[in-house]
Subunit: 366 residues, 2 copies
């Protein structure tokens, strides 16, 4: 693989190990794994899930659902509050695949009921503490109102409750993740118990990479929807969801300038390649990426003392040790572990495996 410009490398072996681990985790937890494909957005990577026996997936937009339907996926959940303006996509998809949508208000339910032309499944999206989207998981009255509208239309089938505990991204270590997971799972179980009397077939769909990676008790969670685990990233390693060795993507960036006097290296690789998610270290310094040590075949742990300290459109500024700068030449390639692999992958638009094979991606702009 001859890298001459910022290039997103993918370690296929690590990806497949991450997939297998999650497949086993779901089996042990007696939960169905419906991986979220918004992280990789790639039909080719999707095939690796099929090889591991996975038949259902989640996506974050109707456009992405069309891309994966085209790639042969027959059961897709759009894990995002329904955008009622895309009714044509909804009807096109519902005609050909098992389409599962998320509704979280009577207003949206009524609009969907008005335009739907083919059978589809509806989750009521609930909020069990993250406060992003979804109706409060305790507002049984309003939830019943939404279900009523769904039930009144024979094309709509009420499937259950979907929730995303994104606040685990603020956690640090297993015990904090477990605490959030226990709290949200408890709410989801109560909710299911309440409505199961009337709708015995309903399921609970939960999904976030930290919980699915480290928690053990998935009682009452019928379906798991993690996405990021396929690649992981610095944020997940810092949360405690993975080890650094499990991070399966790195952005290969050429060195274009060195400033030993201020312990900095500038690489060709900026906000248009990484996006601008960041984490803060213990002393409050923002970090936009870590520089991985090269291994015989790919990369391993982060290099001690090195981190991406600043990003502008195409420049990445790396804080580096004297020794590292002395050893580094203009034109060297650094392997940089992204803070948030989903956003980096989305920007790069394609992957290259370590063997140099190109893997394509969904592109909403095209």
């Amino acid at each position: 693989m001859n890298v001459v410009q910022p290039t997103l490398l993918l370690d296929e072996e690590k990806c497949k190990k991450n997939i297998l681990k999650m497949v086993n985790k779901a089996q042990e937890s007696k939960s169905v794994l419906r991986p979220h494909f918004k992280t990789h957005q790639s039909a080719e990577v999707g095939e690796w899930f099929k090889e591991a026996g996975i038949e259902k997936c989640a996506v974050s937009s109707l456009g992405m659902a069309e891309y994966f339907a085209h790639a042969g996926w027959k059961d897709i959940t759009v894990a995002f509050p329904l955008n009622v303006l895309e009714k044509e996509k909804v009807n096109r998809l519902a005609k050909t695949i098992t389409l599962n949508l998320c509704i979280e208000s009577t207003e949206t339910a009524r609009i969907l009921s008005d335009f739907v032309q083919h059978q589809l499944n509806v989750f009521v999206e609930v909020d069990a503490g993250y406060n992003r989207s979804g109706i409060s998981s305790e507002d049984y009255e309003e939830i019943a109102g939404i279900i009523d509208i769904i039930q009144q239309n024979k094309l709509l089938h009420f499937t259950g409750f979907l929730q995303h505990a994104g606040h685990t991204y603020q956690a640090k270590g297993k015990s904090e993740i477990d605490e959030i997971h226990a709290f949200t799972s408890d709410k989801m179980r109560s909710l299911k118990n309440h409505f199961q009397k009337k709708y015995p077939e309903i399921i609970v769909s939960n999904g976030d990479t930290p919980t699915c990676s480290v928690s053990e008790n998935f009682e009452g969670v019928d379906e798991m929807r993690p996405g990021n685990f396929i690649f992981y990233d610095v944020m997940q390693a810092e949360i405690g969801s993975c080890s650094y060795e499990e991070i399966a993507v790195a952005l290969a960036c050429p060195v274009v300038a060195k400033y030993p006097e201020r312990n900095e290296i500038v690489v060709y690789g900026g906000a248009v390649h990484f996006s601008k998610d960041r984490i803060e270290n213990e002393s409050g310094t923002s970090m936009y990426g870590l520089v991985a040590q090269k291994s015989a075949y790919g990369w391993g742990n982060p290099t001690p003392g090195l981190y991406m300290k600043k990003l502008s459109q195409e420049h990445g500024t790396i804080h580096a040790t004297d020794e590292f700068i002395r050893q580094t030449k203009i034109g060297d390639i650094l392997y940089i572990l992204p803070i948030h692999s989903c956003l980096t992958a989305n920007l790069m638009g394609k992957y290259f495996t370590l063997e140099g094979r190109e893997l394509g991606m969904y592109r909403f702009g095209f």
Copy 2:
């Protein structure tokens, strides 16, 4: 223009006004305008500059230079430290257009000198205080060393000094911008004076949107390279580079959920559409965008009390007033002014004018 998903709208009239204003500013300042095209990245938008008499441009990568060379631009500066790995692109470009590169070390100068096959111009990139890339503008000895290597190769022509005062992005108001501009211009004048004895034809190329928008004294600045001014954005309005009315792009986003109990609206429009640049308001709250008031034809000032408070991959969470939420329906379109239009445009990959005409963009991933 029927918007059904996040769509980047471009107000052509505002763009053309912004272009004309900067063209006039450069003429009054007796400086050559070489607009930076990394903001719009669009051949069609480039034509509007040609119509205003502009014949030279700057870009941020060799790939982007190839895109604009293909679109008919004959004099292009790659305003980024040369990536020596892309030698094939350099030679291809230098064969067909007037290519101007930036070098900031003897190491890079030697590598370029070794592989160059066609005539090209070389700027020495200097750092006059921003501390991102470029050799210190006061290190005359090292600069002379770089120039020597350039001069020894008959294919390389030493053109002058290029500088970017990106620290104006941290400024607030005209006086702070003017102060940085005076400081950096002074350094550039001294530098030019020093080397002009030996190289009488050299020029100084400066460029940043705040300075070029508000400062008046461009004595000694032979060339201006602003980029963002074509669109402007919330960051520039907050710095004082423009008025809110001059912001020429807005991301149209569908409303997908409403939470009156916590004064929030969720739109379909997240980090994969806006990127994650943010500004902090006076009370330390992070803002990822502002919601513009709709006008008869496009948009105007921000709506008081509304701002984008949170972004995840596809969700945008807007803080909104009770009254605004009451008036807003699911499926309504909000026009959101980006914090940093360069990154938003890069993610969206294309524009639609208010008349619904699609404008394409350079895509490095393809």
